[in-house]
């Protein structure tokens, strides 16, 4: 299959959406600042951190999209590297695996190289097959059997989420033209990142205002049924309105995608919470300052990015 190159000229719909996000963010910044002034600076720390990371997101996105596709792909490669580093620094690793970890890091540029070259088949199997087998081989040749399965599993789990999962975002940019309606990769990327992050905020806000019943108390004590359902449904409504602007999705499909993002984002969030609980790290990025807190910002994307990508790839490309 020969994939034609896609020109990263940004359609006006992306620019308008982007402008709207910036406007909303200005409003949100002012509102949060006023709330904090009213209730004291110690309150709404999580909300302020979220607004702050939204600004980072907007600036990075603007810079990335202004340049050519290669810069954007490189940006996601750096994001994968930072996320993988945070993950591998948090989990217990074996001294014998130091060199294995080096190979794991090397998977980041290789995986994004497949994206850049638009080698779809290799993009799909490199981590699940080749890296999976290679890591196992490299580990077993060291001859250390103590905690072997735990170490092999956790290294591969890191590669699958932080490298393979996130690289789906970059691959959106190099998708060939669709079957029916032409779709723009940058617009799809904006759509999935925007809705995933928005879903996080909406679930938080619904949970804070109406949250009563706990949903997964042993993993994430603050999550509630009301937050989950309210957030997911609101996200679905936003998806329904935004889909015609940014995507080729039919109205029915946009509802399916909205629900997928709503519940998938929740699952990504609680999955990272479960990992942190297992390791014994408190479940908020603010409590581990300097550790970047990148995992806390991208946890939902770890689920929504591959889900959205394969939904689009199957039905529209």
């Amino acid at each position: 299959m020969k994939l034609p190159a896609l020109d990263l000229w940004i359609p006006s719909s992306v620019l308008y959406t982007f402008g709207a996000i910036v406007a909303l963010l200005v409003v949100a910044t002012v509102v949060v600042a006023l709330m904090r002034r009213g209730d004291g600076a110690g309150r709404h720390v999580e909300l302020a951190a979220r607004v702050h990371s939204w600004w980072v997101l907007v600036v990075v996105f603007a810079v990335a999209l202004l340049f050519r596709r290669g810069i954007t792909i490189a940006f996601f490669a750096v994001l994968s590297f930072l996320a993988l580093k945070e993950y591998l620094s948090l989990i217990p690793t074996r001294r014998a695996d130091r060199h294995v970890l080096f190979w794991a890091y090397l998977c980041v540029p290789i995986q994004y190289w497949w994206v850049w070259k638009q080698w779809y088949h290799m993009f799909l199997i490199f981590i699940p097959v080749w890296a999976f087998l290679f890591v196992a081989m490299r580990m077993v040749l060291r001859g250390e059997t103590r905690d072997f399965l735990r170490a092999a599993g956790s290294i591969h789990w890191g590669l699958m989420t932080m490298v393979f999962g996130l690289s789906h975002l970059a691959y959106l940019l190099v998708l060939p033209d669709g079957k029916a309606v032409p779709a723009h990769g940058a617009a799809l990327l904006l759509f999935i990142v925007l809705l995933t992050e928005l879903n996080d905020v909406l679930q938080y806000l619904w949970g804070r205002t109406l949250g009563r019943r706990k949903v997964l108390e042993s993993v994430s004590p603050k999550k509630t049924v009301e937050g989950l359902v309210g957030g997911a449904l609101t996200t679905t409504v936003v998806a329904w309105f935004l889909a015609p602007v940014l995507t080729p999705l039919t109205p029915a499909d946009s509802i399916a995608v909205g629900l997928m993002i709503g519940f998938g984002g929740f699952l990504g969030d609680v999955t990272i919470s479960a990992v942190k609980r297992d390791i014994g790290v408190k479940d908020s990025g603010t409590l581990i300052p300097g550790h970047g807190g990148i995992l806390d910002r991208i946890d939902s994307l770890l689920f929504t990015a591959p889900l959205f990508f394969h939904f689009m790839a199957y039905f529209y490309f």
Binding site: F81, K85, L88, H99, P289, G292
Partner: protein, 213 residues
């Protein structure tokens, strides 16, 4: 030339490795000295230790910041000696006396008299990664001689994982650096070392760090 090379080394290369490839998580940064003379006394697991600690201080202080390092190790051949002295800018210290009257700490005293900020490793050598060896009393001897110079205990974790002794390949890990309160010498070397030891133990307890085996 040496100054420019040193600026490039610490300002570009070291910061790229320490801040991007590794990544620092610094607590109590405000306890770092704003000017010399001062001593940062840290645990030692890696060649990266001094690099990471020097990256904590602003570049404008660079001409005043130097790591104290073993002369027998770093001056063992001419190329390494040039690199250690001119680029890294070490204060070379002999670990063994060559004659009876030799004052081993004289280079340290001279550097402190010049108002420099020294990075000092009381353990003496790197040892096993992420394990604390016995602190030697050299630190107390320096403090006794220079009671007015603040000694700041600094605990680091992760550098020994990134580049342990005997390895050449850096593997990225986030690094924790916890800065302690300055210590004062009050007339007794043993008590001083106890104070340093317990300050380091308190810093180590700020975060749960698994043994690395």
């Amino acid at each position: 030339m040496g100054t420019l090379l040193r600026l490039f080394f610490y300002g570009v290369l070291v910061r790229l490795v320490v801040l991007f490839v590794l990544g620092l998580n610094v607590r109590h940064r405000e306890r770092l000295p704003a000017k010399g003379p001062a001593i940062l006394a840290a645990n030692h697991n890696s060649h990266l230790d001094a690099m990471a600690l020097i990256s904590l201080l602003p570049l404008r202080l660079l001409s005043k910041v130097r790591p104290v390092a073993a002369a027998d190790y770093f001056l063992r051949n001419r190329l390494l000696a040039w690199f250690a002295l001119e680029v890294v800018g070490i204060v070379p210290l002999n670990r063994q006396r060559t004659h009876e009257k030799e004052d081993l700490l004289a280079p340290v005293s001279a550097a402190l008299a010049r108002g420099e900020i020294l990075v000092f490793f009381p353990e003496g050598s790197r040892g096993e990664p992420e394990q604390l060896a016995e602190f030697k009393t050299g630190l107390a001897r320096i403090a006794e001689r220079h009671p007015d110079v603040p000694v700041i205990p600094v605990y680091t974790y992760g550098l020994g994982k990134a580049l342990p002794k005997g390895e050449w390949m850096i593997v990225p890990f986030f690094v924790d650096i916890f800065v302690g309160e300055p210590l004062r010498f009050d007339g007794d070397r043993a008590a001083y070392m106890d104070g340093y030891r317990s300050a380091m133990a308190r810093l180590a307890l700020e975060e749960k760090h698994a043994d690395w085996t």
